[in-house]
C-alpha cells in the first residue's frame, strides 16, 4: 500500500509526529493493557446503574405484565417499538462504515469501523431486547421462530412483517457479529502476543490461532471482503424491513410507500450521530486524537447533513402526499401529527432532525468538536422523537374517533428506555477495556501513505506543486491535534 505516495491534497488520516507501528499498537492498546482511569470508572458506574435499572424495569414488566407500561387499547405500541426502531437505526452506521465504506475503498473508515461496529452490535442487542420485552408472553417468544413442532404444520406467518423482522434482526446481528469478530482477530493476536499469564491464555483462545502468516492475512482480507459484500445489502434491507412493520399496515400515517428509503436514511443519520457521540468522547478520554481526526469528524458530519436532508425531504413528501391523496384519514393523521395533541413531539422531531442540523452546512460547525457533539445529541433525541411520532401519533387517532386516546408513559416505560441506554454503555465501556477500540492492523495500513508525518516529508521534500502544498496546509488548520505552527517554516 505504501509503495506510492498519496496525493498531497488528500488530508491525512493519521496525525502526529513520530508515529510508528509500535506507537500505534501502544496508543490503541493503552486502555486495554493499563488499569482504567477515573473517567472510565465514573462512566461505567453510571452505565451499570442504568443497566441495573433496565434489569429491574424489565423484570417488573415480566412479573406484572405489559400493563405496567402506559399502553392502552388504542396505542398498542409506544416507547417499546420506538426504542426498538431507534436502536436498530443507530446500528446502521456501524454496518455502513464497516461494509459499504470498505467496498468503496474509503480508507478513513479504518479508524472508526471497530467502534462503530461494536456500537452496531450493542445497539442491536438493545433492539432485540425490546422485541422480547414488548411481547405479552415473552416466554412464548419461540413461537416466532419457524421451528418444526408437533402441531401438525403450524408454521409462522410469513405474511407478517414481524416475522420478516425476526429474520432481519437475527441475520443482521449474526452477520455483524461475525464481521466484527473476524476483523478483531489480528488485533486480538496482537494483544495475545504482548500479554502474559491468564490474559495470554484467554486472548490466545480468542485469537483462534492467528499466526500472522501471509496466507492468514490473505484469507483475512478475502473473508473481510466477502463479509462486507454480505453486510452491504443488510444496510438497506434491515431498516427497510423494520419500516415495513408500519408501511404494510392499514394505519393512516404508517401506510406509506416512502418508508423504506426514508427509514434507511434516518437510520444512517441517527447512527452517525451516535458514532459522533461515542467517539468524540472516546478519542479524548483514550487519547486517540491522532487516529480519529478532525477529518473523520467532518466526513461523518457531511454524511449526517446528507441523510438528514433526505429525512427532511421525506417528511415534506409525506405531508404533500397526504394532501395529494385526498384520503381523509391520511390527511387527518398528518394534520393531527403536527397540530394535534402531540404537536410538541412532532415539532421537536422536525427541529432536531431537519432545522437544527442545517447548521452543518457551515464548515466551522462541522469542524467544531463541541458543536458536533451537541448536534449529535440533538439528532439522537430528534430521531427518537421521529419514531415516537410515527408510532404514537398515528395510532392514537386512526379511523374510528370513538377509540381515539392519548398515551402517557409510566415510570416503567421510561426506565426500560433509560435502562437500555445503560445496557448499551455498559457493554460499550466493557468493550473499550477488553478489545482495541480502533482496528490496529487496519490503521497501520494507513501509516505509510496517509499519515501526517509522511505527507510532511513530501512537503519538506519540496517536490510538489506549491498551490497544492498551500491547499494542504490550509486544510490542516481545522485539525485540533495538529500544531499548525510547525508548518510555518516548511
Amino acid at each position: 500500500m505504501s509503495s506510492h505516495n498519496e496525493s498531497i491534497i488528500r488530508e491525512p488520516l493519521i496525525t502526529g509526529n513520530n508515529i510508528t507501528y509500535a506507537q500505534i499498537t501502544e496508543d490503541i492498546l493503552r486502555p486495554v493493557e493499563k488499569l482504567p482511569g477515573r473517567a472510565w470508572w465514573i462512566g461505567f458506574s453510571v452505565a451499570s446503574m442504568g443497566a441495573t435499572l433496565w434489569l429491574f424495569a424489565v423484570s417488573y414488566t415480566f412479573w406484572y405484565g405489559i400493563g405496567s407500561w402506559g399502553l392502552n387499547k388504542t396505542v398498542g405500541w409506544a416507547w417499546d417499538i420506538t426504542g426498538f426502531v431507534w436502536w436498530v437505526g443507530i446500528g446502521h452506521a456501524g454496518t455502513l462504515i464497516s461494509a459499504i465504506l470498505l467496498l468503496f475503498r474509503q480508507k478513513w473508515r479504518n479508524s472508526i469501523n471497530r467502534s462503530a461496529e461494536a456500537m452496531t452490535i450493542f445497539a442491536v442487542i438493545c433492539a432485540a431486547s425490546y422485541i422480547v420485552a414488548h411481547m405479552g408472553r415473552p416466554w412464548m417468544a419461540v413461537y416466532s421462530l419457524p421451528l418444526p413442532n408437533q402441531y401438525g404444520s403450524l408454521w409462522v406467518n410469513f405474511n407478517s412483517p414481524l416475522i420478516w423482522d425476526v429474520f432481519a434482526i437475527s441475520t443482521y446481528f449474526t452477520v455483524s457479529l461475525v464481521f466484527w469478530y473476524t476483523g478483531l482477530l489480528p488485533d486480538i493476536a496482537t494483544i495475545r502476543d504482548r500479554a502474559t499469564g491468564l490474559r495470554r491464555k484467554i486472548y490466545s483462545f480468542m485469537s483462534f490461532g492467528w499466526t500472522g502468516s501471509v496466507k492468514t492475512w490473505q484469507r483475512f482480507e478475502t473473508v473481510s471482503l466477502i463479509l462486507a459484500g454480505i453486510s452491504t445489502p443488510l444496510v438497506l434491507s434491515v431498516h427497510s424491513i423494520v419500516s415495513m412493520d408500519f408501511a404494510t399496515s392499514l394505519e393512516p400515517g404508517w401506510h406509506t410507500t416512502i418508508f423504506p428509503p426514508y427509514f434507511v436514511a434516518g437510520a444512517i443519520f441517527s447512527g452517525f450521530a451516535m458514532v459522533q457521540t461515542l467517539l468524540l468522547i472516546a478519542r479524548k478520554v483514550l487519547g486517540l486524537e491522532n487516529y480519529i481526526t478532525m477529518f473523520h469528524i467532518e466526513a461523518m458530519n457531511k454524511i449526517i447533513i446528507l441523510t438528514g436532508s433526505i429525512v427532511m425531504v421525506a417528511y415534506c413528501t409525506e405531508f404533500f402526499i397526504a394532501y395529494y391523496s385526498q384520503v381523509e384519514y391520511e390527511q387527518y393523521a398528518f394534520i393531527n401529527r403536527y397540530f394535534g395533541p402531540y404537536w410538541w413531539a412532532s415539532w421537536s422531531m422536525f427541529c432536531c432532525n431537519c432545522i437544527i442540523p442545517q447548521v452543518l452546512w457551515f464548515k466551522k460547525v462541522r469542524t467544531s468538536i463541541a458543536a458536533t457533539w451537541f448536534l449529535s445529541i440533538i439528532i439522537n433525541i430528534g430521531m427518537w422523537f421521529e419514531r415516537f411520532v410515527i408510532i404514537v401519533t398515528s395510532l392514537h387517532r386512526d379511523f374510528l374517533p370513538s377509540s381515539w386516546a392519548m398515551f402517557y408513559p409510566t415510570w416503567i416505560d421510561v426506565s426500560v428506555f433509560v435502562g437500555s441506554i445503560g445496557v448499551f454503555f455498559t457493554l460499550f465501556l466493557l468493550f473499550l477495556r477488553v478489545l482495541p477500540s480502533i482496528a490496529i492492523a487496519e490503521v497501520k495500513l494507513l501509516l505509510k501513505g496517509s499519515s501526517e508525518q509522511e505527507k510532511k516529508k513530501i512537503l519538506q521534500s519540496g517536490h510538489i506543486d506549491a498551490t497544492q502544498g498551500a491547499f494542504y496546509k490550509d486544510a490542516l488548520t481545522k485539525f485540533d491535534a495538529i500544531d499548525i505552527a510547525e508548518y510555518e517554516k516548511v
Binding site: G65, K73, M140, Y143, S144, N157
Partner: protein, 1013 residues
C-alpha cells in the same frame, strides 16, 4: 399345523458350538457390569465409555420417570351418583322472573351462570336490560351475609326467631305501631304474607317506599280519573311522542319494555312500510331517551312546568291563569310544533313527563285526555304494578318514628338510610325504634342501623312470583340451593306471624293453587309444573277504555308556576336523574354495572356533575374540575363532565352512587345525590336550586370514549332524515356509487356457513344491555376505574356514541368546526349510537400481521383467536381499523389488584365454563359467541337436521330489547340476517378499506324536517 421344521439363526446354532451354548445361557449376550458399577471402587475406577452411556441413559430415564409425578386431581364434578337433571357440560334452563320480567336462568352443573330473557315475556319479548343481565353476579357476591346477625354478632335463626317473636308480642301488647317498609312489591304471594303478618299484628302497616318513586303519576291519576294507579304506557301505539324529561328508554318505569315498543315504529320493518314515529324530547340533562329523540330541546327544570302549561294551552286553545311565555325561544317554537303534531296525531299521540310532581302529572293527564291518548297509548285499565311507592306515607312514618310512636320496623329491599332525602332524620328516628329488622343481604346503610339483620335469599335462591302488569303473573323459582345460611324474608315473616305455613314454598303453591293457576287455565300439580316451565300466566287484557278528565287545572298551574319561580330564582338549577347502569344504586356492588359505560357520557365507576360546555366555560370550569355542589343544605364534590345538550344554567347529577356500605366494589364510587331530593306536595322532587364552588381539585373521569364527534367520516356513521329516506332509501347508504374493487388476497370459501351480523343503527338506543350480556357470556374481565382511565376496558362489544351539532341545517361533526360554533348551535345536539365489535372481516388486517398465526380465518367467515398461540405483540390491535381488539394487560383473573371484581370466594362460579378465561399477555376480542355456534351445530347434528335460522343467537343479539342486532348465516338467503343485510340502508363501516367486514350497519334515520335538521 404340525411342522417339524427348525429355523436357525446361524451356523453356530445349527452346529451348537460350545461358545454358542455358553453365550446363550445368559439373557444378554454380554454381561452387564452391575457389580462392577455398584462396587465402591468403581466410582474411582475408570468407567468404560459404554458403561458411562448406559449409566447416563438409565439415570436420565429414571429421573424423568421420577419427575412424572401425578398432577393433583381436582374433582371438579364431585357427583358419585349423577343427579338425573344434571349432565356435566349441558346447561339447564329454569323459568323465573326478574323485576316482573319472565326470564330464563341458565345453570351449569348446578350453578346459575347467565340470565336470559324469556322469549315469551310480555314486557320485553326476550330482551333484557343491563340490570337483569348483571343480576346473576350478585348471587355470588362474597360480601353477602353468611348468617343472621343480632347487634352485629352472628347468631342462628332460632335465636333470631325467639328474640323477634318475644319482642313482637311485647310490642303488640304495648299497642305501638309496627311498620314494614318495602320497595314496591308486586308479588301476590309476598303481599299476602305481609297481609297475614298485619293480621297477626294489627298495629302493623305496610309502607311502600321507593328510592325513585312514581307517586306523582299515581296521585295525579287519582286526581284526574279517581284511579290511583300507574298506567301501562303503549309507546308502540304512538305516532307522536312528546316527553318532558321522562327517560322512558333508559330508566323510566319499564324501560326495557318501552324500548321494544318504541323501536317497533322506527326499525327496519317500520321504515320499509314508510312509517316512522316522531319523538320530541324536552329535558335538562342529556338522557338516553333524549339522545334518541328526533328533536331534542334543552330546557331548564324551571321551564318544564311552564312549557307543559303552554303545550296545554296550545292544544286546548285556552289559557291557564298565570301562563307566560318562556324566555327560551327554541323551546317556545318547539312547543308550537309539538302541539300541532300532537293534535294532528290525536288518538295516536302520547305526552309523558318524568317529574314526580303531582301537579305536573295532573297537567300531563289533562293534555293526554285532550289528545285521546287514554285507551290507546295509555292504558289505565290494565295498570302497571311496577311502582307503587307512596312518598307521603313514608315521610309520615319517619315522623312517627321520631315521635316514638313506632316500636318495630322491618326493611325489605328498602335502604332509606342511603336513599332517603334526609338520611340524618332516618338515623335519628331509628334510634327511637325498639325493634329494627332488616332483610338486607348485606349490611348496607340501613341494616347497619338495625339490631337484627335477617338476610334474605337472593331471587335466584327463592320461590316467589310477581305481577308487574295487571293480569301478567310470573313465577320465581330457585336455581341453586342457598349459598349461605340465609332465609327468605317471606319465610321469616311467616315464622314471626305464627301462620300455618312454615315454608314459603308451600305458601306460594297454596296461593297459586287457590287463586292464580286458574287465571291461566291451569290446575293442580300438573298446572304448577306447566307454570314452572312456561314461567307465567296471562289473563286476557281488559279493554282499555278512553278516559277523559275535566279536572280543574288552576290549582295545579299555580303550584307549577310557584315551583318554577322558586327554581328560577337561584343561580344554578340542579336536576337529579338515574344512571342507566346503577339506577337507584341498590346494585352498586355489581362490578359489571359499575364498569358499564353510561350510554351518553361514557363515564364508568362514578357520578359527575354534567354541565353544558358553554355554561362551564362561562364559569371557568373544565372537564375534570371538582366542584362543590350545595343545595337544600347538603353538599357534595363531584368532577365536572362537559355534556353537550345540557340546558344552560343547569347541572345534572346521577343518584345511585356514593354508597357507604355496599361492599368493596360499590363503596366510595361517586357521591350520594339522593339528599338533594326535596319532599313537596306529597312526593319526592329531584330538582333544586343549587350553588357551585370550585374546589381547585382535579379528578379525571374514567370515560371509555374521549372523542365525541365523528369528524365528518361518513364511512363510519351514515345518517339521513326520514323525508330523504322516503325519497330515496339508498341515498345515505352509498349503494349508488358501487365501484370495482381489487384484492391482493385470495377469497375465502365459506361452503356451509358464513356467520354475519346486521346492526340497525335506527333501532339501537344505546342502552348497553349487550355489553353486560357479552361480559357474562364470554367471561370478560372487569378492570376497574384506574384501568378504564388508562383506556383498557375489556368489553368485546362497545357502543360508540357520537355527537353532531346542527347549524342552519348542516350537520357539524368536525372538532375544528364544533369549536367555532355559536353558543346557541351548541345546544342543538344530535346523537348516534353505534355498537362496535369485531367485524370478522373477510380480509382481516389483523390476520395478515400476526407473526404466529394466532388469529386466523375460519371457513365459516369468522375471525378466530387462538389464545394459546398468541405471544402478545399487539400488532393485530394496532392494525385493526375498528379498534375492537382487547389486550390482557394484566392477569385480570388472578392478580390481587383486581380481586374486588370477579375473584371473590364464589364469584368465579359465575364464569361460563364454555369459555376460557384469558391469561395476561394475550389478545382477545369478540368471537361471535363461537361456543354458542358450536353448541347450536352440535344440537342440530344430534337431532339429525341442519342448523335452522334462529337456532343460534349470540349473547348481544339475544338480550337486545330493541332487536337491533341480527345474527345468522348469510349463505342461507332466507335467513333473517340475509334479509336484513339486503335492506337499502345497509352499509359497512370503512367499506373503502376493503376489509370486507362481516357486520353490516343500517343507516340511522331521523324523523326530522329539513329545516330542523
Amino acid at each position: 399345523m404340525d411342522s417339524n421344521k427348525k429355523y436357525w439363526k446361524g451356523l453356530e446354532e445349527l452346529n451348537k458350538t460350545p461358545e454358542f451354548v455358553e453365550k446363550n445361557k445368559h439373557e444378554f449376550a454380554e454381561p452387564i457390569p452391575v457389580e462392577e458399577v455398584l462396587e465402591g471402587g468403581s466410582l474411582f475406577g475408570k468407567t468404560p465409555r459404554r458403561d458411562f452411556l448406559k449409566a447416563l441413559g438409565f439415570g436420565v430415564g429414571a429421573v424423568t420417570l421420577a419427575a412424572c409425578q401425578k398432577v393433583p386431581v381436582h374433582k371438579s364434578i364431585p357427583y358419585l351418583i349423577k343427579p338425573e337433571e344434571v349432565t356435566p357440560g349441558v346447561a339447564n334452563y329454569y323459568s323465573s322472573s326478574f323485576d316482573g320480567h319472565a326470564i330464563l336462568v341458565k345453570t351449569r352443573e348446578g350453578r346459575p351462570i347467565k340470565v336470559e330473557g324469556n322469549p315469551n315475556d310480555l314486557l320485553s319479548k326476550g330482551g333484557l336490560g343491563a340490570q337483569a343481565q348483571s343480576s346473576v353476579l350478585d348471587l355470588y357476591d362474597s360480601n353477602r351475609l353468611q348468617n343472621p346477625k343480632q347487634d352485629g354478632a352472628e347468631v342462628d335463626w332460632d335465636s333470631i326467631d325467639s328474640f323477634i317473636k318475644g319482642e313482637l308480642s311485647a310490642i303488640k301488647a304495648g299497642g305501638k305501631k309496627i311498620a314494614i317498609v318495602t320497595s314496591t312489591i308486586n308479588s301476590p304471594s309476598t303481599l299476602s304474607v305481609i297481609a297475614d303478618f298485619i293480621a297477626a299484628y294489627p298495629t302493623a302497616k305496610h309502607v311502600t317506599y321507593d328510592a325513585v318513586s312514581y307517586t306523582g303519576i299515581i296521585q295525579a291519576n287519582q286526581n284526574s280519573f279517581g284511579k290511583a294507579v300507574l298506567p301501562h304506557y303503549n309507546f308502540d301505539n304512538a305516532d307522536v311522542i312528546v316527553s318532558f324529561g321522562a327517560d322512558f328508554l333508559g330508566t323510566w318505569i319499564s324501560p326495557t319494555e318501552f324500548i321494544g315498543q318504541y323501536v317497533k315504529n322506527r326499525n327496519n320493518k317500520s321504515l320499509q312500510s314508510k312509517k316512522m314515529s316522531r319523538h320530541i324530547q324536552f329535558e335538562s340533562g342529556m338522557s338516553n331517551t333524549g339522545s334518541n329523540a328526533d328533536v331534542r330541546i334543552p330546557i331548564k327544570p324551571s321551564e318544564e312546568g311552564i312549557a307543559l302549561i303552554n303545550l296545554y294551552n296550545a292544544i286546548s286553545g285556552t289559557t291557564l291563569p298565570g301562563s307566560k311565555k318562556l324566555d327560551n325561544l327554541p323551546a317556545e317554537n318547539a312547543i308550537a310544533v309539538a302541539a300541532a303534531e300532537l293534535k294532528a296525531a290525536k288518538g295516536k299521540a302520547l305526552v309523558v313527563a318524568g317529574s314526580n310532581d303531582v301537579a305536573v302529572q295532573t297537567l300531563v293527564n289533562s293534555i293526554n285526555s285532550l289528545l285521546g291518548s287514554y285507551g290507546s297509548t295509555i292504558d289505565l285499565d290494565n295498570a302497571s304494578n311496577q311502582f307503587a311507592g307512596n312518598d307521603a306515607e313514608f315521610v309520615a312514618l319517619v315522623s312517627d318514628m321520631n315521635n316514638g310512636a313506632v316500636d318495630a320496623v322491618f326493611f325489605l329491599d328498602a335502604n332509606p338510610a342511603y336513599d332517603y332525602h334526609n338520611p340524618n332524620a332516618i338515623k335519628a328516628a331509628l334510634k327511637k325504634v325498639r325493634l329494627r329488622v332488616s332483610f338486607a343481604r348485606n349490611v348496607e346503610e340501613t341494616a347497619a342501623l338495625c339490631n337484627i339483620v335477617a338476610p334474605n335469599h337472593y331471587y335466584l335462591e327463592s320461590w316467589g312470583d310477581s305481577n308487574a302488569l295487571a293480569g301478567y303473573y310470573t313465577v320465581v323459582q330457585p336455581t341453586i340451593n342457598p349459598v349461605y345460611n340465609t332465609r327468605q324474608a317471606e319465610t321469616s315473616l311467616l315464622a314471626w306471624s305464627n301462620g300455618t305455613f312454615k315454608e314459603y314454598y308451600a305458601y306460594v303453591r297454596d296461593n297459586w293453587d287457590k287463586k292464580l293457576l286458574a287465571l291461566g287455565g291451569l290446575t293442580g300439580l300438573k298446572g304448577w309444573e306447566t307454570l314452572l316451565q312456561t314461567g307465567y300466566v296471562k289473563v286476557a287484557d281488559k279493554t282499555a277504555t278512553a278516559y277523559t278528565t275535566n279536572h280543574d287545572l288552576t290549582a295545579a298551574a299555580q303550584t307549577i308556576l310557584a315551583h318554577s319561580a322558586e327554581l328560577a330564582g337561584g343561580k344554578v338549577e340542579l336536576q337529579l336523574y338515574q344512571s342507566i347502569a346503577l339506577r337507584d344504586g341498590k346494585r352498586a356492588n355489581n362490578p359489571w354495572l359499575q364498569e358499564l359505560p353510561d350510554p351518553v357520557s361514557k363515564v364508568t365507576w362514578e357520578n359527575f356533575a354534567a354541565l353544558s360546555p358553554v355554561y362551564a366555560k362561562s364559569l371557568g370550569l373544565e372537564q375534570g374540575d371538582v366542584i362543590k355542589i350545595t343545595a337544600n343544605g347538603y353538599s357534595i364534590a363531584l368532577p365536572v363532565l362537559l355534556q353537550p345538550g345540557q340546558a344552560q344554567g343547569t347541572i345534572s347529577v346521577a343518584v345511585g352512587y356514593g354508597r357507604t356500605l355496599a361492599g368493596p366494589v360499590g363503596e366510595g364510587k361517586g357521591e350520594n345525590a339522593f339528599p338533594f331530593n326535596t319532599f313537596r306536595n306529597g312526593a319526592f322532587i329531584g330538582t333544586a336550586v343549587a350553588t357551585i364552588d370550585k374546589t381547585g381539585d382535579q379528578s379525571e373521569l374514567a370515560q371509555t370514549q374521549t372523542h365525541h364527534s365523528y369528524e365528518g367520516r361518513n364511512s363510519i356513521i351514515r345518517e339521513t332524515t326520514f323525508t330523504e329516506y322516503k325519497k330515496n332509501p339508498y341515498a345515505a347508504s352509498g349503494h349508488f356509487d358501487e365501484h370495482k374493487t381489487y384484492s391482493m388476497w385470495d377469497e375465502y370459501d365459506h361452503p356451509t356457513f358464513n356467520w354475519v351480523m346486521a346492526i340497525d343503527l335506527n333501532a339501537c338506543t344505546g342502552c348497553g344491555a349487550c355489553v353486560v350480556a357479552c361480559s357474562a357470556e364470554n367471561n370478560v374481565p372487569v378492570v376497574g376505574k384506574d384501568e378504564v382511565r388508562r383506556r383498557r376496558e375489556m368489553h368485546w362489544i362497545r357502543i360508540d356514541r357520537y355527537y353532531s351539532f346542527n347549524k342552519g341545517g348542516d350537520l357539524i361533526t368536525k372538532e375544528s368546526e364544533i369549536s367555532q360554533l355559536s353558543d346557541a348551535n351548541m345546544d342543538n345536539v344530535s346523537v348516534v349510537y353505534q355498537p362496535m365489535l369485531c367485524q370478522h372481516c373477510d380480509h382481516a388486517p389483523c390476520e395478515t400481521v400476526c407473526p404466529v398465526l394466532a388469529t386466523v380465518h375460519s371457513s365459516e367467515g369468522l375471525n378466530h383467536m387462538a389464545y394459546n398461540r398468541c405471544i402478545g405483540t399487539r400488532y393485530c390491535a394496532n392494525n385493526c381499523p375498528y379498534k375492537v381488539r382487547r389486550f390482557n394487560w394484566f392477569n385480570y383473573w388472578n392478580d390481587a389488584r383486581f380481586d374486588n371484581y370477579l375473584q371473590g370466594e364464589h364469584t368465579q362460579l359465575v364464569l361460563n365454563p364454555d369459555v376460557v378465561t384469558r391469561f395476561r399477555g394475550v389478545m382477545e376480542k369478540c368471537s361471535m359467541c363461537i361456543q354458542r355456534i358450536q353448541a347450536g351445530k352440535l344440537k342440530a347434528k344430534m337431532e339429525k337436521r341442519s342448523v335452522k335460522d334462529g337456532d343460534i343467537k349470540v349473547a348481544c343479539q339475544q338480550t337486545c330489547p330493541a332487536n337491533a342486532i341480527v345474527f345468522g348465516n348469510v349463505n342461507d338467503p332466507n335467513s333473517e340476517v340475509a334479509k336484513a343485510l339486503k335492506s337499502e340502508r345497509t352499509y359497512y363501516v370503512l367499506e373503502e378499506l376493503n376489509t370486507q367486514p362481516g357486520v353490516g350497519y343500517q343507516v340511522k334515520v331521523r324523523n326530522r324536517t329539513e329545516l330542523e335538521a
